[in-house]
Symmetry: C2
Subunit: 127 residues, 2 copies
């Protein structure tokens, strides 16, 4: 669990220069949001200690909370076995709100499972 990965070793090639960045509250494990980073965004984030994303829709870097004050102060950063995803543990500054809709987390909408007839699944799996 203690291996270190320098940011230069991260793999930005799989998604045309981007990697997903999962933002988590280290106190309770809550996943607050997912954004994307370019290598520049990651370098700025690691240097400043505050999360800076790349906006796919606006095609620009943006420091989360720059205007609202709800900045994401980085506590720690992990990458995964493929070096193509980042996990940030952060402290949310300001009002502690991450989502633009006013909730702590952006993940608020339930996607229901489709309760398929188990017999259909068994038939499919035995094919």
């Amino acid at each position: 669990m203690s291996a270190k990965s320098d940011f230069e070793t991260l793999d930005f090639t799989k998604m045309a220069g981007l990697v997903p960045a999962v933002i988590q509250d280290p106190e309770n494990g809550e996943v607050l949001m997912v954004g994307f980073m370019t290598q520049d965004a990651l370098e700025i984030t690691l240097r400043r200690g505050y999360v800076t994303f790349y906006s796919r829709t606006r095609d620009e870097l943006w420091t989360k909370g720059e205007t609202s004050g709800n900045r994401l102060r980085v506590i720690s950063v992990l990458t995964d076995c493929d070096h193509d995803t980042l996990l940030f543990r952060v402290q949310v500054e300001g009002q502690g709100v991450v989502c633009h809709r006013g909730t702590r987390s952006c993940f608020t909408e339930n996607v229901p499972l489709k309760n398929e007839d188990p017999a259909v699944l068994c038939a499919e799996e035995s094919r």
Copy 2:
């Protein structure tokens, strides 16, 4: 927190047919891995109740744990405010191991912050 989002409303356009899928242990909040789903992968996941990803490197659907037995049984699914990311709470079956390297989580490598001189940051921010 109780809004429902049908899977047909998810936005697969931002990443050429894919959305990131964050896999989390609901017991302790641990983020276990991040994969990607096409609409087909999501539909199969919701129907069967086990996580099926789309592999970007192999260009095919794959049900996590199909050979190892460490399948990811879906407890609940959330999407975010933009409907372009999924968060799965799962129970890891089999040996409870998610990473092919034998660890519970794929996120095991620390990416160190770069302790930049605060004076430099202040100068940058005041520009």
